[in-house]
Symmetry: C2
Amino acid sequence: MPASIRDVAESAGVSVGTVSNVLNRPEVVSAATRERVLGAIAALGFVRNESARQLRAGSSRTVGLVVLDIANPFFTDVARGVEDVVNPAGLALILCNSDDRPEKESAHLDVLAEQRVQGVLITPTAELTPHLQTLRRRGVPVVLVDRRAPGPDQCAVAVDDVLGGRLAAEHLLERGHRRIAFIGGASGLPQVQERHDGVEAAVREATGAVDELLTLSPEALTVAGGREAAARIVGMPASRRPTAAVCANDLMALGVLQEMVRQGVRVPDEFAIVGYDDIDFAAAAAVPLTSVRKPRQELGSRAAELLLDEARGEGHVHVQEVFEPVLVVRESSRVRRTGGQ
Amino acid sequence: MPASIRDVAESAGVSVGTVSNVLNRPEVVSAATRERVLGAIAALGFVRNESARQLRAGSSRTVGLVVLDIANPFFTDVARGVEDVVNPAGLALILCNSDDRPEKESAHLDVLAEQRVQGVLITPTAELTPHLQTLRRRGVPVVLVDRRAPGPDQCAVAVDDVLGGRLAAEHLLERGHRRIAFIGGASGLPQVQERHDGVEAAVREATGAVDELLTLSPEALTVAGGREAAARIVGMPASRRPTAAVCANDLMALGVLQEMVRQGVRVPDEFAIVGYDDIDFAAAAAVPLTSVRKPRQELGSRAAELLLDEARGEGHVHVQEVFEPVLVVRESSRVRRTGGQ
DNA sequence: CTGGGCGGTTGACACGTTTCAGGGCATAGG
DNA sequence: CCTATGCCCTGAAACGTGTCAACCGCCCAG
């Protein structure tokens, strides 16, 4: 059992209160006493017990972040943004992975509630679980990340995904593509739905019909999901087969790219691909991916700022921030053969 | 302020001790009382205060994991392995990113010490910081991940990186390559050094000389670092330029690949690449990467098991586990043009 | 000489939980 | 009727810290 504040007090010949003051308000302690106490602390290897602090303070010095897929670099970039804000504030980050499964999400939220975290940053699964509502009703600040708020009574940091989908689709339409695929996911995330809607709207405006849009929904928003979708596309009769795809994220786009190459379909000459998120691997792919860029790190840091502000109390006003995505054009959608422009 | 165990007790008309029993040893409480208490808990929305539990128990229900680069999928896979072991045991995971910088590592370790984590899993930076020693001396279990233990007095889960380097190099040598580059890093990580040594040994055995091995050490073990190294290689006179590279990890290998493609060097025809770690993106690259596979997830889960065993106390014996890496051959090192085999 | 002010220190209490010795009560056995 | 035996339950202590009112000397102004 490690040394306690009491051991330090004894060793330095002062009271516990003084030791506490040295730790928390060093300026009220005389220099001589302070030195003596610090010496005792060093000698005993004393380390504050956070549990006791927390118990006393009523809340802990931690923040929770719950993401859909820790293996998706988009979320690690978000996490890094969160860390950049949260660590300097003296808070530790508890990173949780829900794997897009509501049960895991709920379990993590329960743990975070028991930990009395200062607040929770979360990209929730499709339906907002009751656990999240319970948490908020209990007064724990919750900021939604990469997801719009259902109402004005909470903070959210999101991206205009309808616009993102539109940008991606318009780009392909401009390049002369008419039969376009949207590759989304089966889990029904609103972000994905919005991207779809943006694509659909652009296609309708350009072609006057929506049936030009083929929507595929593989099980998961992963590389494997992308491969699966690509295989389906390659299997279609050439007359109906799309010539380009907008993917709901870059992982899927990479999967599509990989499968196309494997099947001997040349990208972008025979099939163009647009991804979403613009993770670093998008640019690093050997056929660099055109992608819809989101401010990944900023998404995290801004959300963390809002969370800290809300946790601080005093006249916090809820903010629903919506970033504008930007299309980054790279090889995977460039026209090489056919004229185009 | 949320409801406490005392509020529950009052509301249910029992003592605090009984409520605690309902929570921790429900079998000793009569069914009727138990129901009444559970009802009160639900009605009040009571959630246990972990801080108080921890204070009482002396240690918390968390485990720390400190990694070198959260943006490297290798480490997120390790983290997933850790989670798989640690969550079922009722423990939360605090994931920290040291960014390969000793100061950040130390700061994180301090926080973990204050949190009284059950133990720490860490891939340390090059030199073992005193903070780590201090932590161990204080009795906190520490398991090294992807790093050999300096002595028999602690657990470590590592990979035979000399063998890994050798496998990579021998593969290239068999393919007829003679001038080989090893692309490592400047930070001096022993893992990287061992990989280098394996490569060097293989080259010496095959060619009788070591001067065939060009060693490059870009700043960071990242995609950007790989690009940087590749640019240097392309800039060399053809007579001395290597025809293949072993990279210290897959991120760098992807960077090399990307830069080679950008410069019009065909992979693998003109330049072969072997990565290390075999992250998912290695296979997903449009020129799939040959890579030295490590059991990423298992590395994490095994380390977590050892940590939990050590934390449990009772006759724990330190284990230094060393996994054997396996070479996974893909396109990036296949000979296409020249005969070879 | 006295009173007031001030810098520095003290010591007790509270935070919410777990644990454990002990106590009340009913039932069964003598 | 008394005692032994379980079964449930109670109540207090303890974990380590932060806070705060109170206190102690000491100096200075009056």
